[in-house]
């Protein structure tokens, strides 16, 4: 049957996380630090709003751009938290998660062969999304010694004629890396100089622990070349609702809307209703969750370093990204060995690109007790390796 399948899909590698998932799924009693979503269930008032919407017969299509009430709420939220104003009428589109928004933006903007700069290690779908939109993916390495921040100098080195888009995810899955204002400003100047459109995936931006989050859209000349991507999955623990949004210049949003209207039509109305509730009344629950993530981060980073796995202090998201090089094992052998010996699942860093070699991703979106137990087991595993 393979001859029927499009060439660029045949050539697409399987997600590196998939094989690992198959093995973990068959095991009992695993403490998984391999999960890229909050452990908290969606706050009850948000779930209740979705139930209420269903009871009220909110079961129909919405406008392609999404419910105007939701876009208004998004506009207020983004202006208040990110200091960039977008018109609800034509500068905001509601999507099925940020994943769809990325896909829409890439499909709306790329001509075959256009290149996309992005930092790596990165979220598993970045490279494939570019390929599926017939673009060329140009990864730029980020480094542990920088806390996996992105540097304009590295971008400039990777740049070549034909680059059209810079795709960023800060704070970053899997590294937890963030960028301070100074670094971001340099990146902004680079984007202006090279006339790039910036897709800024800020899905983890509420979950920062050391310094306030800054969106690249705030710098001079950036609003008109930035597509700000955000959603509800992480901050409001709403992954399964599949609801996100993109904000940007009206013409770009219009182009994304064209692709969206012919492929998705609109995001599910119940998720949109739940999202309104999240924006209007979800802030307290979000802050309570953030406080827990903050403490868990400090706990996990301290324990991993104490165990002998060098781990930078990630500024955001809910991932630690320790280097396992000191054990003498590759990231893959470490992850498989830890799973077999101690039943703790962490994801080999190479699932997030070749730059993840030597690292594993340990998600701390797990309750304190499991987290402490997992750290104890990792510690025991590493000490055991040292004795061999």
């Amino acid at each position: 049957m393979k001859r029927y399948i499009a060439r660029h899909v045949v050539d697409l590698p399987k997600s590196g996380i998939r094989d690992f998932f198959e093995i973990v799924a068959k095991m009992e009693d695993v403490i998984s630090l391999g999960i890229g979503e909050p452990d908290f269930d969606t706050p009850w008032h948000i779930r209740e709003a979705a139930i209420y919407a269903l009871e009220k017969g909110k079961t129909h299509y919405t406008s392609n751009l999404g419910l105007l009430e939701l876009r208004r709420a998004i506009s207020r939220y983004v202006e208040q938290h990110y200091a960039v104003a977008y018109r609800p009428e034509d500068e905001i589109i509601v999507t099925v998660g940020v994943s769809e928004a990325i896909d829409l933006a890439l499909r709306a903007l790329l001509n075959p062969g256009d290149a996309v700069l992005y930092h790596e290690p990165c979220y598993v779908s970045y490279h494939p999304s570019v390929t599926l939109a017939h673009g060329v993916a140009l990864p730029v390495a980020t480094r542990a010694e920088d806390g996996f921040a992105l540097n304009a100098e590295d971008l400039a080195r990777a740049w070549r004629p034909g680059c059209k888009i810079l795709m960023m995810n800060l704070p970053c899955n899997p590294t937890g890396g963030t960028c301070d204002r100074a670094r971001l400003e340099k990146i902004a100047r680079f984007a202006v100089e090279k006339d790039l459109i910036v897709l800024s995936d800020e899905i983890y931006s509420e979950l920062v622990y050391d310094q306030a989050h800054t969106s690249i859209a705030v710098f001079p000349g950036m609003r008109e070349r930035t597509i700000f991507l955000h959603g509800f999955s992480k901050a409001f623990a709403m992954t399964g609702f599949r609801i996100g949004y993109a904000c940007g210049p009206a013409e770009l949003v219009e182009a994304m809307m064209k692709v969206h209207q012919y492929s998705m039509l609109c995001a599910p109305i119940l998720s949109q209703e739940a999202a309104i509730e999240a924006l209007l009344r979800g802030e307290d629950a979000m802050k309570a969750m953030r406080e827990q993530y903050h403490r868990r981060r400090d706990l996990v980073v301290r324990r991993l370093n104490a165990a002998g796995l060098a781990c930078h202090r990630p500024g955001g998201a809910f991932y630690a990204f320790p280097n396992v090089g000191a054990t003498g094992l590759s990231e893959r052998d470490f992850a498989y060995g830890l799973l077999a010996a101690e039943k703790v699942a962490v994801v080999p860093g190479t699932a997030f690109g070749p730059g993840g070699a030597g690292f594993v991703r340990a998600s701390y979106a797990t309750g304190y007790e499991s987290l402490i137990e997992a750290c104890d087991r990792i510690d025991r595993y590493v000490q055991g390796l040292a004795k061999r």
């Binding site: 997600s15 996380i17 690992f20 998932f21 973990v24 799924a25 695993v30 998984s32 391999g34 999960i35 890229g36 979503e37 452990d39 269930d41 979220y123 598993v124 779908s125 899955n173 399964g240 827990q292 403490r295 868990r296 400090d298 706990l299 301290r302 324990r303 699942a345 994801v347 699932a351 304190y368 007790e369 402490i372 750290c375």
Partner: protein
Amino acid sequence: MNPVLRLLIEGGHLTTTQMAQVAGLSEAEVNRHLEQLKQEKVFLGWRPVLDLSREDAAAVRAVIEVKITPERGGGFNRLADRLSRFPEVESCYLMSGAYDLLIFVTGPSLQKVAGFVSEKLSTLEGVLSTSTHFMLRSYKEGGYLIDVPPETSGRLKVAP
């Protein structure tokens, strides 16, 4: 805020060893914080959360609204304190509104609780009236839902 108090308010059920890890303190420091909270009478003590409406718990609980006469100088405090000393009284609060004190009472049987109300509570000087409501069933107790099927995490074991 005291880091240990913060964890206690969150309502988890961590041991002091676990609290130490979470707060980034030594166990001795956690115990010192707990001791200090005790001295400040913020932290009063540990208690299990039980569903007392279960048959095997053999306990009857009631909420009693009490109207009392405030006294010159002491207000409601002297009488509230006196009421609170009965071991049957689990909690006692001064309320705004239609009555003055709200008392939570637990006893081994309906008769025992009724006896407490008629013989001890309502005969106290200063108690004007009582209104007793027996609890029939619990749906949530101390933050725990009762009679809901155990929640199984629907999370995938590994996800991007």
